[in-house]
Amino acid sequence: MIYFDNSATTAAAPEVLATYQKVSEDFWGNPSSLHALGNKADGLLQASRQQIADLMQVQPEEIYFTSGGTEGDNWVIKGTAIAKRQFGKHLITTAIEHPAVKNSMAQLEQLGFDVTYLPVNRQGMIDPADLKAALRSDTILVSIMGVNNEIGSIQPLAEAAQILADYPNVHFHVDAVQSIGKGLMDLLKLPRIDFLSFSAHKFHGPRGMGFLYAKKGRQLAPLLTGGGQEHDWRSGTENLPAIAGMAKALRLVLADESAKVARQQAIKTKIYNHLQEKPKVTIFSGNDAHFAPHILCFGIAGVRGETVVHAFEAHDIYISTTSACSSKTGEISGTLAAMHVPDKVATSAVRISLDENNTLAEADTFIKAFDQIYQRFEIINS
């Protein structure tokens, strides 16, 4: 089995599962309880928070536990809208965001907020000049993803940060779900960034778990009110097994990060070079520093993406049509549409997404399978 769909989800690491199980058995006290069982759980909760903060080089009180990337995105967007509505009702995002951002914005539009969607060029990147032009006196939030989940383009966050330096009151959020463990820490550490959302299951952590970095001093209205956990910002009894599992997964994914990134880049380059020689193949991702090392999106002319996914499945190779979230609805990729890729071409798109456990040998197997599939469809394709 070759698993090339790591942007959809990753397999939980065995060490992470061991922690998950041990914590479920031995640390099941409620961290808010005053007695010894509660203390023990609280000790682990704070140690997990500290470890994540250390790995991200931020303060522990800047880390909030969430149920995943979707909650993190929803929280920053709606929480900013609620907390800063008296200062303005204008938000800026891009045309290629994950649905968690896009649909949160759409919901706010229905409530009377004004949203600007920055266009992208043919490489799937926004133009910082467009951001500059879109900023208004009533802008309260700019939300730009780090790495696009469908084609892997890296957005010009440094340039955006520079522009936003002149707008110190505007919240700057980065959806970093696809950016962790991909050699992009310098980008995520830009001091102007106020919020970063992460999802544990994208880096071999447990499902239903994520964390949000929220810079000290920034205000965010809670979406979940209740017992006052997470400094009253995100109530709900803490999911401690998943939290500890995520802290461990983050440590593991960031260990030896550059070597792991180099391995993924080598696999991507090998497949990229092979695909480039095929006249019927359109490659939507680039293979340079503007693109993440783990995502490669391409299509075989005239063959629907779904068909290609199943053809690879017959070879025991698992890939996806662009993003897993929209693949079942059969909609064409939002990112490719925003890049003005014609619908007919966009429907052919498939995505392979790698992680540090993939190997060059798998790339060879993939290439062999690809050649067979490519040849197989020449019949309908000539």
Binding site: N39, K40, G43, L44, A47, A244, A247, R251
Partner: protein, 405 residues
């Protein structure tokens, strides 16, 4: 740069005539204790310097520890070279290149303990100055206030080069001032008072009163964890816990509300003084600052101090709260101190207590309780433990937690 030794300059002790040997021995012993887990180190205490030969140990890690040892004015990582001027020139250039930026000011400062060396001090200064300016023409010589001083020491066993001087913790070696007891609560002030006492060379032992079930295990753990935080300055600290429940209940039961605090403090002081005598201490330290809270007025001090003639030393007496907090943050006790657990001082705090207690009345109310019997019982119940730097008490399961993460 692969350093071969750390050269340590003594602090104030250099000025102390006859006691010099004792001071140096104590400082060297404290440094050894602070570096006990680096067995490869060799310590050579000399009259004016302590040389710590690294034998391959990580110089950065060693210096981090040394930064906490009182009695050290400053230290410099240095390299021992064969007595070969070509090698010295080459290494000097290498050393300066690491710190170089255009316009950096420097001077060369040579000391010779071996006066038979082929070149004299001035010749070496000039020679190395020339060499460095030729190699790095954008360096600027500045004799009076240079940013970098390249120190050269010519000794019989080699030539030592260093270019960095790192400020030490100052103060006097812990132990040189004699032994004292610190009355440690869980608050902000007493750990700071303890730190300042150790800075002046006091061999300090912690006395902590706890009153289960009115105070939680966490309050005791917090006091121990605070002790672990300031233990690096001493190597390790004795922690003496005194059971205080019986006494507090008795006082609460018999003494009028306005005098609860005063009588309670007198009992604590008596017990601390007994422990001091048993352990051959000379003085008692506490975290009182004048006028901060009701129990810290001068009238209150008179009424409490009445039970002993032992010196009660108050290192933070004249500091403002903000100044104390600043030190607490510097020594990393603040976050712990503000954790909200009931301690024995707050648990029976009456709504209205006397800010100016009358001494005669205090003495009178005390006759209502069995002072000697209660003290004997408390003394019989004390428990002593040794607390080392880096130990954790609040989170008991640290090892298990580390294995999970």
């Amino acid at each position: 740069m692969e350093y071969t030794e750390i050269m340590v300059r003594y602090g104030e002790l250099s000025t102390k005539g006859k006691n010099r040997r004792t001071f140096i021995d104590r400082l060297c012993g404290n440094a050894k204790k602070a570096l006990h887990d680096f067995p490869e180190l060799n310590f050579h205490p000399k009259r004016d310097r302590l040389h710590i030969v690294l034998n391959g140990a990580d110089s950065q890690a060693v210096m981090t520890r040394l930064g906490l040892v009182f009695g050290i004015q400053s230290f410099s990582p240095s390299i021992r070279l064969e007595r070969d001027m070509d090698l010295v020139r080459k290494t000097a250039v290498q050393m300066m290149t690491e710190q170089f930026r255009p316009g950096l000011t420097f001077k060369v400062n040579t000391r010779r303990s071996d006066h038979n060396f082929e070149m004299d001090t001035n010749e070496i200064n000039a020679d190395l100055g020339d060499t460095l300016l030729t190699a790095l023409p954008e360096l600027v010589v500045q004799v009076h206030n240079p940013e970098v001083t390249l120190r050269v020491e010519v000794r019989l066993d080699g030539i030592y080069l260093s270019s960095e001087t790192i400020l030490g913790a100052g103060g006097l070696p812990v132990g040189t001032a004699g032994r004292g007891m610190l009355m440690l609560s869980g608050g902000i002030d007493s750990p700071v008072a303890g730190y300042l006492a150790m800075k002046r060379g006091v061999d300090l032992q912690m006395v902590h009163f706890f009153s289960p079930p009115y105070t939680s295990e966490k309050a005791l753990a917090k006091a121990k964890e605070l002790t672990a935080k300031i233990a690096p300055y001493a190597g390790s600290l004795q922690f003496i816990e005194v059971p205080f429940t019986k006494i507090q209940e008795e006082i609460k039961n018999k003494v009028p509300e306005g005098y609860l605090m005063t009588v309670q403090r007198r009992m604590m002081l008596r017990i601390t003084d007994r422990i001091r005598a048993m352990r051959r201490g000379l003085a008692i330290f506490n975290g009182e600052s004048l006028g901060q809270v009701a129990s810290q007025t001068m009238e209150s001090m008179v009424a409490i101090n009445d039970v002993t003639t032992t010196p009660i030393l108050r290192p933070v007496l004249s500091l403002d709260k903000n100044e104390i907090i600043k030190i607490a943050k510097d020594i990393d006790t603040f976050d712990l101190s503000v954790m909200p657990f009931e301690d024995c001082c707050t648990i029976f705090a009456p709504p209205a207590l006397k800010t100016r207690p009358n001494l005669d009345r205090t003495r009178h109310y005390e006759t209502l309780i069995d002072v000697d019997g209660l003290i004997e019982a408390a003394i019989a119940g004390i428990q002593v433990s040794e607390i080392k730097p880096g130990e954790h008490y609040l989170v008991q399961d640290q090892a298990e937690i580390n294995s999970l993460l």
